[in-house]
C-alpha cells in the first residue's frame, strides 16, 4: 500500500464515524421548492400614523397609542449639541446631559433620583451628542405619573450637584487616558480628525485640560440656554389614552416658558483638496484600515442613488463587492465594508474600513482602492442594481416595525429639516435609480485622489511599505 492510499483511508475513517452527507442525503432538499425561483409581491402595509400636536409653550408632541404591553415610552429631542460648545470646554455638552440625569433636581437629590428610578424599574437617561440632545423615559404604565413627574423635573430643574459633576469629570479623564487602548478606536478617532480637521467641532476631541476647565456654572448656563420648551420635541408611545396624556404632559411642564435661542455659529468644514497616507505605529499582529473622505448631507437629492451605490460597493452586508472579494474570496478580513454616512447639518463621510493580518495589509488596502476606482469607471451590472433595489424596497417595512420606531423617525425627519413625506416617497425614489445615476454619483462623490488612507499597525512588517501608496505621514498619538 503506498503512502497516499494509507492517508486516504485515514481520511475516510474520520468521516465514517458518522453518516457522510453523500452516502445518506437527507430527503428534505429534493422536496423543497427552489428559493431562487420563488416570487413574492412587495409587502403591503399601512403603518399607523402618529399624531402631531403643538402645545401652548411651543413644545411639539408626537403621539402613537400601542396597547399590547403595559409600558409607556417617551423620547425627547432637544436642539443642542457639542457643536455648540466652546473650543476650550470640549465635553461640556456631554457632561451637561450626564449630570442632568445624575446631579439631582430642585425637588430630589441625585441619590433620590437614582433610588426612584431603580425602585420602579424605569429606564431614564439623558444624553447630548454632536448635533442633537436626547432624553428617554421607559416606564411601566402603573408608574407613569411618577415617572413623568420625575422626567419633567430633570428636564426643567436640574441642579447639577457639584459632587456628581466631579465624579463624571474624573471618569471622563480616565476614559481619555484609556482611549488608545484599542487599535480600532484609535483608527476611527484619528480618521475623523483627518476628515473634519482637528479644530472643527465635528473633528475635535476632549483633552484632560478641556474637561478640567468645565465648572458647574458652565453646565447651568448650557442647560438654561437650550432646554426650553420651544426647542423640544417629545414622542410618546405605549399604553395610554391620547387625550388624557396630553393633559398630563401639559400639566407636568406647566410654567416652563418659551425663550428665543441664539445658536452659536458653527464653523463649516473645510474640505481637503488632497488625500494622504497616515500611519500610526503599534506593535500588533493585525492592521486597522480606514480609507475615505467627506461625504454628503442627507437632504442631497442624490441621497438615494448614493445609498444604492454604497450598498453595492461595501454597505450591503455579505453581498457587497468589498465583502465578497476581501473577505469571502481572499479571506483577508473578518469585518470589511464601506459606508456613506450622511450628515445632517454638515456633510457626512464616505469611509471604507477593514482590518487584516500585518503581512496582508498592502494587499487589503489596494484591493479596497481598486474597488473604489472601478465603481466610478464602469457601470454596475443590471443584476447588482436589481438586487440592491429589491433589498431596499423589501426591507423598508422594517422601518415601521414598532410604534416607538415610527415616532422616532418622524421626529428626526422634522428635527433635521427633511420633508415630512420623506418616508412615503422613499420607495419611489429608490425605484427610480438607474445604472447611469449610480455611475454619475460615483464619479461625483467618490474621489480617489482625495482619499485619506490611515493604517494603525506594525508598519515595518507590512507586505509592502505604506510609502508605495504615497507620502506617509506618521501620527504621534497624544494620550
Amino acid at each position: 500500500m503506498n503512502r497516499l492510499s494509507v492517508l486516504f483511508l485515514v481520511f475516510l475513517w474520520s468521516l465514517s464515524l458518522v453518516p457522510s452527507p453523500s452516502a445518506a442525503p437527507a430527503p428534505a432538499a429534493t422536496e423543497l421548492p427552489d428559493p431562487r425561483t420563488m416570487t413574492f409581491p412587495a409587502p403591503a402595509f399601512q403603518p399607523p400614523k402618529p399624531e402631531r400636536q403643538v402645545l401652548s409653550n411651543g413644545m411639539i408632541l408626537y403621539l402613537l397609542e400601542d396597547h399590547e404591553l403595559p409600558l409607556i415610552r417617551m423620547e425627547v429631542i432637544v436642539k443642542t449639541g457639542s457643536i455648540y460648545e466652546p473650543a476650550d470646554k470640549i465635553s461640556l455638552a456631554g457632561l451637561t446631559g450626564a449630570i442632568m440625569r445624575t446631579g439631582g433636581t430642585k425637588r430630589h437629590s441625585g441619590d433620590e433620583v437614582d433610588e426612584i428610578i431603580d425602585q420602579m424599574a424605569a429606564d431614564l437617561s439623558v444624553g447630548i451628542g454632536a448635533d442633537a440632545g436626547g432624553a428617554w423615559l421607559d416606564v411601566l404604565k402603573k408608574d407613569f405619573d411618577a415617572g413623568l413627574a420625575l422626567f419633567a423635573d430633570i428636564l426643567m430643574n436640574p441642579v447639577f450637584e457639584e459632587e456628581k459633576l466631579q465624579i463624571a469629570k474624573n471618569n471622563a479623564i480616565e476614559m481619555i487616558r484609556r482611549r488608545n487602548d484599542r487599535p480600532s478606536s484609535i483608527a476611527s478617532r484619528e480618521f475623523n480628525k483627518q476628515i473634519y480637521g482637528a479644530d472643527n467641532p465635528y473633528g475635535r476631541e476632549a483633552t484632560e485640560e478641556t474637561v478640567r476647565s468645565i465648572v458647574r456654572d458652565d453646565l447651568v448656563a448650557f442647560h438654561r440656554k437650550y432646554f426650553v420648551p420651544n426647542n423640544i420635541m417629545i414622542g410618546v408611545t405605549g399604553d395610554f389614552d391620547k387625550k388624557e396624556i396630553i393633559a398630563k404632559i401639559e400639566k407636568a411642564f406647566a410654567g416652563w416658558k418659551k425663550k428665543k435661542i441664539d445658536f452659536p455659529e458653527v464653523p463649516s468644514v473645510v474640505e481637503r483638496k488632497d488625500g494622504g497616507v497616515y500611519a500610526i505605529a503599534r506593535p500588533i499582529t493585525q492592521t486597522q484600515i480606514r480609507i475615505g473622505h467627506l461625504g454628503i448631507k442627507q437632504n442631497n437629492p442624490d441621497f438615494f442613488a448614493v445609498s444604492i451605490l454604497d450598498d453595492i460597493l461595501g454597505g450591503g452586508g455579505l453581498t457587497s463587492r468589498l465583502f465578497s472579494d476581501v473577505r469571502t474570496q481572499r479571506g483577508l478580513a473578518y469585518s470589511v465594508g464601506s459606508v456613506f454616512r450622511p450628515g445632517n447639518f454638515e456633510r457626512g463621510v464616505f469611509i471604507a474600513y477593514g482590518e487584516t493580518r500585518v503581512d496582508t495589509t498592502h494587499q487589503a488596502i489596494s484591493t479596497i482602492l481598486d474597488h473604489i476606482r472601478k465603481i466610478r469607471r464602469e457601470p454596475v451590472t443590471d443584476e447588482e442594481l436589481k438586487r440592491a433595489k429589491e433589498s431596499f424596497l423589501n426591507s423598508f417595512i422594517f422601518s415601521f416595525s414598532s410604534p416607538a420606531q415610527i415616532v422616532s423617525r418622524k421626529m428626526s425627519l422634522e428635527y433635521y429639516g427633511l420633508p415630512s413625506d420623506f418616508l412615503e416617497r422613499y420607495r419611489d425614489n429608490v425605484a427610480k435609480v438607474t445604472k447611469e445615476d449610480i455611475l454619475r454619483v460615483a464619479k461625483k462623490y467618490l474621489h480617489p485622489d482625495r482619499l485619506v488612507i490611515l493604517a494603525v499597525g506594525d508598519d515595518g512588517k507590512f507586505d509592502q511599505p505604506l510609502s508605495s501608496l504615497g507620502k506617509v505621514t506618521q501620527i504621534q498619538l497624544t494620550p
Partner: protein
Amino acid sequence: MKKPVFLFVILFVCSLSGTAASAQSLADRVVEHTLSNGLTVLMVERHQAPIISFRITYKVGSVNEHSGITGVAHLYEHMAFKGTQRLGTSDYQKEKEVLEELEGLNWEIVQEEAKGSEADSERLKGLREKFEALEKEAKQWVVTNELAELYNRNGSVGFNASTSRDVTSYVVSLPSNRLPLWVAIEADRMANTVLREFYKERDVVLEERRRSVDTNPGGKLYETFLATAFLAHPYGYPTIGWPSDVGSLSAAETERFFRTYYTPSNTVIAMVGDFKVAEVIPLLEKTFGSIPSGPPPPPVVTVEPPQLGERRVEVEDEANPQVVIGYHKPNFEHPDDPVFDVIDSLLSLGRTSRLYKKLVVEKKIAVGASSSSGTPGARYANLFTLSATPRAPHTAAEVEEAIYEELERLKNEPPTEKELEKVITNLNADLVRSLRSNSGLASQLAYFEAVAGDWRYVLRNRDKIMKVTGEDVMRVARTYFTKKNRTVATLVQVLPAGEPGGKALPILKEGGQ
C-alpha cells in the same frame, strides 16, 4: 404528528396588578410543537406588522469541543453561510469531487507538517501549490454568497448567527409573505450544508480572533481568566478557539462535528410575528420534519474538580489596567442558582447598586464595576464574576480590595426588604420588556428551551427568585465567596521597549473632591 400544545401561562401576577392582563394575553400565545423527528418549535403570533423574526438554536457550542478542535463550533457557524448542495453552487456533483480531493490533499499536508524539522520542504511546497490550484478549481463552481443574496433581495433584516459556550443560533427577520422562502432555505441548510470555501473562511476566523482577542486587551484578559479558572471543563476554552487549533481544523473534522451535534432533536426553532400557527405546522412537518433524526449526541462528561487554592494571573499589554474576579458556582438547575441572580442584582443593578455606590460614588476608585452570574455559560457549573475598571492613580489591587469588602458585607448582613423588592420589580419589568420585539422574544424562547430544556424556565426561575431570603444570600455568599474558590485576572500595563516615558498619560493630581 403530534397535536400542538397551547399553553395558558399566568405570566405576571400580583406585583403588576392591573397590568397583568395585557402582558398575559401575549404570553398565552406561545405555542409549542414537537415535529415527528424531535425538533421543537415555539411560535408566537403577533400581527402588528407583516414581519416575522426567525431563530434556529442548536444545543451545541464550544462546550462540546475538546482540546485540538477548539473553535470548531464557531467555524461551523461561519460555514453554514456558504450554501447547500443546491444553493451556492452551479454544479454540486462536480464541485464535490474537487472538495473531496482537497480534503485528501489537506490531510497529506498536515501529516508532512507534523514532521516538524524533518518535513520534506520540497514536497510540502509542491503539495501547497497543488492545494492552491485545487482551491481555484473548486471556486469555478461557487456562486458566491448566494444564500445571503437570496435573503437580501427578499428584504431580510439582521441575517446573522452566533456561537456561545452553550448554543449556536441562526437568525433572520423577513417580510411575513417570505415565510415559505425561509422554510426552503433553512430546511435545506439544516440538512445539506456544504463546507465550500472552507480554508478561506478559516483565515477569516483567524482574522476575527486577532480582532476580538489579540488586539483587544479586554478580550485577551477574559480569555486568560477563563482558561485559568477552568483546568478541566471545556468552559475554559475560548469559543473562537485557540489559534493553532483553528489553523489546523479540516473540513472533514468540521463536517463530522456537524453530523454529530446538529440533529433535529438537538434543535429549537422559535418564530414570532405575523403568521398563522395552524398553517405553519403542516409546512414545518413536511420540510424540517423530514430531516432524519440521528442518534443523541454524546454528553459532556468532564466535571471541573474542586479548586485547591486561589488562582492569580496577569496579562501584560500596552493598555490600562482592568480586573476580573470569578468564583465557581453550580449550574442553572441548582437551588442556589436563583440566589446568585439576587446577589448579582444587589451588586450591580443600576446606580443604586452596591458596587456602583461603593466603588464609583463613595470611594471614587473605579469608573465602573459589574457582576454577572453564569459566566461563561449556564448549562454546566460556571462562575459568578465581578469586574472593574480602576481610575488612576488608583490600582487594580485597591479596586479588588473594595470588591471583597462588599462580598464580606453580603456574608454578614442580610439585604434590606427594599433592596429585595427592587430586585423583583426589575425582574418583572424586564420580563414585560422582553416581549416587546419579535426578535427579542424569539431569542428568549429559543435560548431557555435549548439551555434549560423548557422555555418556561424563565417563569419558574422568577418564582424562585421571589422566594429568596436574606438568609439565603448570606449562606450562599459564605459558601462560595471564599479565597480558595477564587480566580483573579489582572490586565497590567507594560510600555513597549525603547519608548522613554512611554505613551501613557502621566498621572495628575486628584480633581477636587
